[in-house]
């Protein structure tokens, strides 16, 4: 028997009508009666499936259509055309039965009650989702233990740090044990330890509940830790859909050496590595292949007045860019 996918997206398209505003009084009064608009396509011909229990990274540069796609899957947006099915529901019909099985967590949104202790906020969640007492208490205590919230739950939300608030937020959003979970930049703005903690928790939740997770993140570490598979989109279309390994190979093939020199910006470092760019303030970033790292670093230290030197993985945007540029142009 072929198992039904948890998420199935077919030819999904979303276009927004953006008003075109002309300056001047006459134009703005005219706009009251006849609005000139321009169509902006956020998501175009999106097709993919996610199996039950899968964790998939949803990647792409800013404005690629990731958040728009997640909002459609969470039922907040109605598509212009195409279909999507999540757990057998059409999300934008917003049936209560669907909303009880789904959660959308956005990194910079807060659904907890600002002036109330976290525990009280959880009680509100209980009455919103109609959770039986026993199930609620068990889940809550487990979440508190897993996310190490014990010392925080008696404090009002406004007294928590950003990271603590995010942990409480995630616990609150999962109290109803959703079978499908949409995470939009869940770790944005958090420090490394907190990012790690949240990552581990999501993995744990996925393992225990068998929940399907679709996640966007700017932090490659999030994606590496959680997703076996990634979907890369740009301009609203899928460019890459496959195992993380393939993307990681790509990712591992180059490194960036960031060097800060004593002289302001006189020196040219174009001769090192494949390409070098001046970031200003005497800071240069140099692209090298993995095998060149040791050699180039050695030369830099020997030949230049280096104040500071770090070796970085390229940002995720660069990786994605490489992923699709290889597909479209001959290497």
């Amino acid at each position: 028997m072929i198992e039904r996918p948890a998420v199935r997206v077919q030819s999904l398209r979303k276009a927004f009508d953006v008003p075109v505003r002309q300056p001047g009084l006459k134009a703005s009064i005219g706009a009251l009666f006849k609005r000139e608009t321009r169509e902006v396509v956020a998501v175009d011909e999106l097709n993919f499936e996610v199996g039950a229990g899968e964790v998939v990274g949803f990647l792409g540069p800013n404005g690629a259509g990731k958040t728009t796609s997640l909002k459609m899957l969470a039922g907040l947006l109605h598509p212009t055309s195409g279909t999507a099915e999540v757990l057998g529901f059409t999300p934008w019909q917003r049936q209560p039965a669907y909303l009880r099985k789904m959660a959308l967590i956005m990194g910079n949104r807060n659904q907890l009650q600002w002036d109330l202790p976290v525990l009280d906020s959880f009680e509100l969640v209980r009455s919103i989702y109609r959770l039986p007492r026993q199930q609620f208490t068990d889940t809550r205590d487990e979440m508190i233990a897993l996310l190490e919230l014990g010392a925080l739950v008696d404090k009002p939300v406004r007294n928590l740090s950003l990271g603590e608030r995010m942990k409480a937020e995630i616990a609150g959003a999962l109290l109803h044990l959703p079978a499908v979970l949409f995470l939009d930049e869940p770790t944005i703005g958090l420090d490394i330890t907190m990012q790690k903690r949240i990552r581990t928790f999501v993995a744990e939740y996925n393992r225990k509940q068998g929940a399907t997770v679709l996640l966007t993140s700017h932090y490659m570490a999030d994606v590496q830790a959680l997703c076996k598979r990634v979907i890369v989109i740009d301009h609203g279309t899928v460019l890459f859909d496959g195992g993380l390994q393939r993307l990681a190979d790509e990712f591992g093939s180059t490194k960036t050496i960031v060097a800060r020199l004593d002289v302001a910006d006189g020196e040219k470092l174009d001769t090192y590595g494949r390409s070098a760019t001046n970031r200003g303030d005497g800071t240069w970033s140099i692209q090298v292949t993995r095998s060149e790292v040791a050699e180039v670093t050695g030369r830099l230290l020997a030949e230049q007045a280096v104040v500071d030197l770090t070796i970085e993985d390229p940002p995720i945007e660069d990786v994605i860019e490489r992923v699709f540029s290889r597909g479209s142009t001959p290497a």
Partner: protein
């Protein structure tokens, strides 16, 4: 942190005033880009005035004078009430709201680090000129009232009226500055603004009709009597010379008191943030 320069004998005072004018012009230009807002604001003002006029009509359907004021004379009071409201909302309140927000968020450093008198700077930072639509309509209503009343208005009355309006504006400004300065001590002052707006409504009728305790309150605690009723008295042949002197005295006193309170608050702010 830079201390504000010591007040009244500031050599930069001329500079401060020039700066005030500049801020005002930039703010106004900014707003002028959104001329449609003026239409909306005018519409809202007209609606508000219409309700006020219906209210007056209901009152005068049952009587022909209120505490000795005839219907056209009450129109004059209402017109001045609107003029003052427009002035406050357009030129005083926006800067004061900004000031309160800055004090609460601890972001007042920007105006304090400029080489001009900080009080001038925080008082002119923001204008919302479309709110002045109320003033325009108010002026029209004052004129209608003056034409209808049977008291002759002389040049001297108009001069006193203009003087009193200027002093009234200053008193309301001082009151707002004091209100805003309380934000240095109290955490939430939004509701104090609600309080002022609520009390301001009492100004649409002459203070004389209110019972004694309230009359004192809106004369000396919230200085509405001198900002609205007294200018109206100038135009309706009621003004006593003593009131003119009183208005001048109150204005001066409030200028000094608000200045002191503001500086006291600044000291506290400096102590808390450094």
């Amino acid at each position: 942190m830079t201390r504000p320069s010591p007040g009244w004998r500031d050599p930069d005072r001329a500079g401060s005033l020039r700066l005030a004018a500049l801020f005002f012009r930039v703010g106004a230009q900014n707003e002028l880009q959104y001329r449609l807002n003026f239409v909306v604001q005018l519409l809202q003002s007209i609606l508000g005035v219409a309700a006020g006029l219906v209210g007056l009509a209901v009152v005068f359907a049952h009587t022909n004078n209120l505490g000795g004021w005839s219907r056209p004379q009450l129109l004059v009071v209402m017109g001045i009430f609107l003029m003052m409201n427009g002035i406050t909302q357009a030129f005083i309140q926006p800067s004061m709201n900004l000031l309160i927000a800055d004090i609460q968020k601890g972001t007042l450093d920007f105006p304090l680090t400029k080489p001009v008198d900080a009080q001038v700077l925080v008082s002119v930072r923001s204008v919302d000129i479309w709110q002045a639509a109320d003033s325009l309509i108010g002026l029209i209503i004052v004129i209608v009232g003056l034409v209808q009343q049977d008291v002759a208005v002389h040049l001297v009355d108009i001069v006193s009226f203009v003087l009193l309006m200027l002093m009234g504006t200053v008193t309301i400004y001082c009151f707002w500055l004091m209100l805003a300065s309380t934000a240095f001590w109290l955490i939430k002052t939004d509701e104090m603004q609600e309080l002022f707006q609520g009390l301001y409504r009492t100004g649409q009728y002459p203070v004389g009709i209110y019972p004694g305790w309230l009359r004192y309150g809106i004369t000396f605690v919230v200085p509405l009597a001198f900002a609205i009723t007294v200018p109206a008295e100038a135009l309706t042949g009621r003004l006593e010379h003593l009131a003119l002197v009183g208005a001048a005295g109150l204005t001066l006193a409030l200028l000094v008191i608000s200045r002191l309170l503001w500086r006291k608050g600044l000291q506290r702010y400096g102590g808390a943030s450094s």
